[in-house]
């Protein structure tokens, strides 16, 4: 509680809720130093995901070396720690490419029976199902996040030891005929080798991210070249997953969902993202305006409508005595079962309620929360999924009431012990604590004085880390082929044409003009 006082002294008259960085750091410190409690056992098969949440959050809260002052606390993860952690991450690499999610799926090398220890290769990926698409992305992101920032040269080498070719082959082997991706390979008796995992937009997004991180610009025939997966089939699969209510789902037969909308949008963006950021683009959360994204989506204004429908005015649940006072609170009965999404019957009711609250409080500052599906409850992570989706479309700043949304996040979701909870009042967890910081990094806020690093909406790492990835990819490819690659040229208009073709609607939609193409 001493921190409370300190904070008040430092910023006595702030009008906006602020991010208590020290408190968040304390939460993350706990997550690094002590083993996680038993409730995380369900994540045991994907510990790299948890590690990604931890390291990404710590990086977000740690100023880059150039911005450190004598007041800046020592980085939570030291340079030595980083070295050890990088080794640990690499230890999850499967001998034939890809990464396993947990060390309990890492087998002693001799048990990979087709693994030839002399050539250090394996003819055929064995132990199918152990390497996993999700873990592979988290591993690569972690390696980049764990770059030693005080040593530029070391940063280039973060992918040293990554089996780039094997991993890209593994990636390609996970694509299904319909263009979508599964999460792992599995040998099922009677069914042969089969691509396991649901029809899940997350895997599609992850596939594009791994491709962007590792593939580079190696030309066919050169060493290190790996056949690309079918990007067009993937794009078509994604585009076909727009639902009747204009959001996106795991496929078009499912309910629209903000997480999947983000994945769909970010995947399309990554498919034509230039391999290197320009100096101007690297300072923005959206380093690249994707021609493919803007031209290919069947109903882009509809998608924006669906995303813009996710924020709602968060209303405090009424006190228990409220039922005796029906004039004050106008709620639908069922709502009280789900107090995180209270929807007054008519807009006038809402306005009336808000003006009453404003009178009581002496100000009309509202809280804006986000849900992930129509009529669902507030959840920290959906602020990120919706915000991230809009950011990739270049519309986060103009379409979201950032002030009210930040207020909700910081006043209702921030926990006393640091971190963010899933819903108001709930204890923090790694997942929501990370996404809370991610959206703050994405929105940026000059008043926070750069407390949180700028965040990349497509790759979901801080912007500095994107630079690390770009340099490390270059280095990894150069080390494979011993030469230099060609810089990719922007072929925006070709991409637009391809996008239009993918829409399978011949005419040029109106909004394309509105998007600047």
């Amino acid at each position: 509680m001493e921190n409370d006082n300190k904070a008040q002294v430092e910023e006595p008259e702030q009008e906006w809720p602020y991010l208590d960085v020290l408190r968040h750091l304390r939460y993350w410190k706990m997550c690094i130093r002590a083993p996680l409690p038993h409730v995380y056992l369900s994540n045991e098969s994907n510990r790299l995901a948890l590690a990604y949440f931890i390291v990404n959050s710590v990086t977000l809260l740690t100023p880059p070396p150039s911005e450190r002052t004598p007041q800046t606390p020592e980085p939570l993860i030291s340079r030595e720690d980083k070295r050890a952690m990088r080794k640990w991450v690499l230890h999850h690499q499967h001998p034939t490419g890809g990464f396993c999610g947990t060390s309990s799926l890492v087998f002693p090398l001799h048990s990979y029976d087709t693994y030839n220890s002399n050539t250090k290769t394996s003819d055929e990926p064995d132990h199918a199902g152990l390497a996993n698409i999700t873990s592979t992305l988290f591993a690569l992101q972690l390696l980049a996040l764990l770059a030693d920032e005080e040593d530029e040269a070391a940063g280039e080498n973060v992918f040293e030891g990554v089996d780039r070719v094997g991993t890209l082959r593994f990636l390609k082997s996970l694509q299904r005929e319909d263009g979508s991706f599964g999460e792992a390979l599995s040998d099922l008796p009677g069914h042969g080798r089969f691509i396991a995992g649901g029809y899940d937009m997350r895997y599609c997004y992850i596939a594009t991210a791994i491709r962007w991180i590792l593939r580079g610009d190696v030309e066919e025939g050169s060493p290190g070249w790996v056949e690309d997966f079918d990007t067009e089939a993937l794009a078509r699969y994604i585009l076909n997953s727009q639902t009747y209510d204009r959001g996106f789902a795991g496929n078009s037969q499912d309910e629209a969902h903000a997480g999947y909308a983000y994945c769909a949008i970010a995947a399309l963006t990554l498919l034509d993202r230039p391999l290197t950021s320009t100096s101007s683009s690297s300072s923005s959360s959206v380093p690249h305006k994707s021609p493919l994204l803007h031209s290919s989506i069947r109903d882009l204004p509809g998608l924006i409508h669906w995303l813009a429908s996710r924020p709602f005015v968060y209303l405090e649940p009424p006190p228990p005595s409220a039922d005796q006072d029906p004039d004050t609170y106008i709620y639908q009965e069922d709502d009280l079962d789900d107090p995180n999404f209270l929807l007054p019957p008519t807009p006038a009711d809402l306005l009336c309620l808000l003006s009453q609250t404003a009178e009581k409080k002496g100000h009309d500052k509202i809280h804006v929360a986000f849900n992930g599906r129509t009529n669902k409850v507030a959840d920290t992570c959906y602020f990120w999924w919706v915000g991230g989706a809009l950011a990739n479309l270049g519309r986060l700043d103009s379409l979201v009431d950032r002030e009210a949304a930040r207020r909700f996040l910081l006043e209702k979701m921030q926990h006393r012990i640091g971190g963010f909870g899933k819903s108001p009042g709930s204890p923090p967890d790694l997942y929501h604590s990370f996404f809370g910081l991610a959206i703050l990094g994405l929105m940026g806020d000059e008043r926070e004085g750069g407390k949180v690093r700028g965040f990349d909406a497509g790759l979901a790492v801080p912007r500095e880390t994107v630079g690390v990835i770009e340099r490390a990819r270059r280095k990894l490819i150069d080390s494979e082929k011993g030469g230099k690659g060609v810089v990719d040229g922007g072929k925006e208009l070709d991409t637009v044409e391809m996008g239009l073709e993918l829409r399978s609607g011949g005419e040029r939609p109106k909004w394309l003009g509105a998007c600047g193409y």
Binding site: L41, L48, S103, Q242, I304, P344, T346, W511, A514, G516
Partner: protein
């Protein structure tokens, strides 16, 4: 000068309370605090006392230095040292170190000082001499009784281990068909022997746990897992996100690793997956391995589904369970696809369970996703019960968007009329118009129940687009929810922002842009302020579609304008 007094103590009487040395100070704290010879309370103390007894001059030497000791003591110390040194050597080489004369002198001196000849070679130290127990405590700090108890347990364990090894060897011999040389009969492991071994193992496990805290869960004890050498996993330094989990889980995973390495498919593997799933139902590899076992062993799919139902109800938010179910149905389907009755029966069963689980968690994404897939797989399109059950769910909660979403798929993806490959947001000419009308009506009735509920509005709009009908075909209905727009703060009445939103689209569709703009403006200004930015963007889009012919610069400017706003 030989050590004073106490010399009467018999050299071998080390067990009795030691009268120790008479040196004024010793490094031993116990003898320091009490001038009386103290009773050792711990094993460490006892050994330290023994050690000191064999080295009566050591303490004094350490304190004062050898040169400061009286001559006799110096000689005594040197002789002790030599004695202990030669004791460590093999008997044969002792004589080469010291000649007979020197030996004789040493023995004479030692005899005089009453040193105990067979002493401890090393000074006993906490932790290193006896090690630590499972709680990290120094075994040396044990009381003598406790230490003896521990000793007895270790002997008991060793005895059990020997018997167990005999049993294991017999099992192995039985497997290979060995013949007993004496009796000339094949070796057979009897039921009784197995039972005895079971008892033995539980005893061994209890002892091991007691002594060393070793993880010996169910599996290590089980005869069934006899032949499997578990592969425990090791983690290098720098590990992140370690999770506290029970020893039982670690054990089970190490056995899983072992059987996965040999690709074993067997009933015991099936039970192993069940055991792990009970502890962590979210481990995708375990589920995949289970599926592989089910298929390899030809386990009845309905039986597996019945088991799965229980697991699903106990783990509502689990994703892997539904993927498993999906695999099971894919596997099962070909066996019943040619039998319409069996298919209908199976569909009915599945629906029964889905209704049950959705009543627990009405918007469960994985369940709904499985359900929409199942409708396609089993061809449940024409099944009236399916539509009825969805209607019931919407009646129970008109805002259950998952149910609305399922309804849309059920009605508009029916391959009987739906054009294959049409996207959900695309018009489909093949969809019968009466169906479109029926669904529009249905949605409208639900809008009346709660006008601010977005689900039926989205549904209605989706139906109109699918059916290729102009949005304006519902203009009258929509206008019921908006009165006197723009006719003054007091007059204006908006019962649903979604109506105003749709009305704006209808006007735009009819090229009545001013009216459309008014709707959007009122949304931004009053009725839906939190989406102000969005409504403003829609207003800009209205004007842009007019200037569409020259998108270039104007559009860019508009974009900049939006960004600035």
């Amino acid at each position: 000068m030989p050590p004073k007094g106490k010399a009467a103590t018999k050299p071998k009487a080390t067990e009795t309370p030691a009268t120790t040395t008479s040196n004024p100070t010793t490094t031993n704290t116990t003898s320091q605090t009490a001038s009386q010879p103290s009773e050792p309370t711990t094993v460490l103390e006892r050994s330290q006392q023994r050690y000191e007894k064999t080295r009566p001059f050591e303490a004094a030497r350490q304190q004062k230095g050898l040169s400061k000791l009286p001559k006799e003591d110096q000689k005594g110390w040197i002789c002790d040292q030599l004695l202990h040194l030669t004791n460590r050597l093999p008997a044969a080489s002792r004589s080469s170190l010291l000649g007979p004369k020197a030996s004789k002198e040493i023995w004479w001196t030692v005899n005089g000082t009453n040193s105990i000849v067979r002493g401890l070679k090393h000074k006993p130290k906490p932790h290193t001499t006896w090690g630590t127990d499972r709680n990290g405590h120094d075994v040396g700090s044990y009381t003598i009784e406790r230490f003896d108890e521990r000793f007895r347990k270790r002997i008991a364990l060793t005895a059990l281990q020997v018997s167990s090894r005999v049993f294991r060897e017999n099992v192995e011999r039985e497997k290979r068909g060995f013949v007993d040389a004496r009796s000339g009969r094949e070796i057979i492991v009897t039921e009784r022997e197995i039972d005895e071994e079971k008892v033995r193992r539980s005893k061994m496990a209890a002892l091991k746990k007691d002594l060393y805290g070793a993880i010996t869960g169910k599996l290590a004890e089980s005869v069934e897992w006899e032949d499997v050498v578990p592969i425990p996993h090791e983690e290098p330094e720098g590990a992140l996100a370690a999770i506290i989990y029970p020893a039982e889980y670690a054990e089970a995973m190490s056995y899983l690793r072992a059987v996965m390495t040999t690709k074993e498919y067997s009933p015991r593997c099936l039970r192993l997956t069940e055991h792990i799933i009970a502890m962590n139902p979210a481990h995708y590899t375990v589920w995949l391995y289970r599926a592989a076992n089910i298929f390899a062993l030809g386990i009845s799919i309905p039986d597996e589904i019945e088991w799965l139902n229980e697991v699903a109800l106990a783990n509502l938010k689990n994703y892997q369970i539904w993927h498993h179910r999906h695999l099971l149905v894919e596997h099962y389907y070909p066996t019943i696809s040619s039998d319409p009755d069996a298919l209908a029966q199976f569909a009915k069963q599945e629906r029964g369970f889905l209704i049950a689980i959705l009543s627990e968690d009405t918007k469960n994404y994985h369940v709904w996703s499985y359900r929409s897939w199942l409708v396609g797989k089993l061809g449940m399109w024409e099944d009236e019960e399916e539509l009825k059950s969805i209607e019931k769910m919407i009646d129970e909660d008109v805002r259950n968007n998952s149910a609305w979403s399922h309804r849309f798929v059920l009605v508009f993806s029916n391959p009987k009329y739906a054009t294959p490959g049409k996207a959900a947001t695309e018009k489909d000419e093949k969809v019968p118009q009466e169906l479109v009308e029926r669904e529009v009506k249905y949605a409208q009735n639900k809008v009346y129940l709660a006008p601010q509920n977005q689900s039926p509005w989205n549904y209605m709009r989706g139906v109109l687009v699918k059916g290729g009908q102009p949005l304006a075909s519902v203009q009258e209905f929509v206008e019921e929810f908006v009165n006197k727009l723009g006719e003054g703060e007091e007059e204006e009445e908006v019962k649903s922002t979604h109506a105003l939103d749709l009305l704006a689209e209808i006007y735009a569709e009819k090229k009545e842009n001013e009216k459309a703009d008014l709707c959007l403006r009122r949304l931004a200004e009053k009725w839906d302020k939190i989406r102000g930015g969005y409504w403003e963007w829609r207003r800009k889009c209205l004007t842009q579609s007019e200037t569409e012919k020259a998108p270039g610069e104007q559009v860019e400017k508009a974009e900049e304008g939006i960004a600035a706003a």
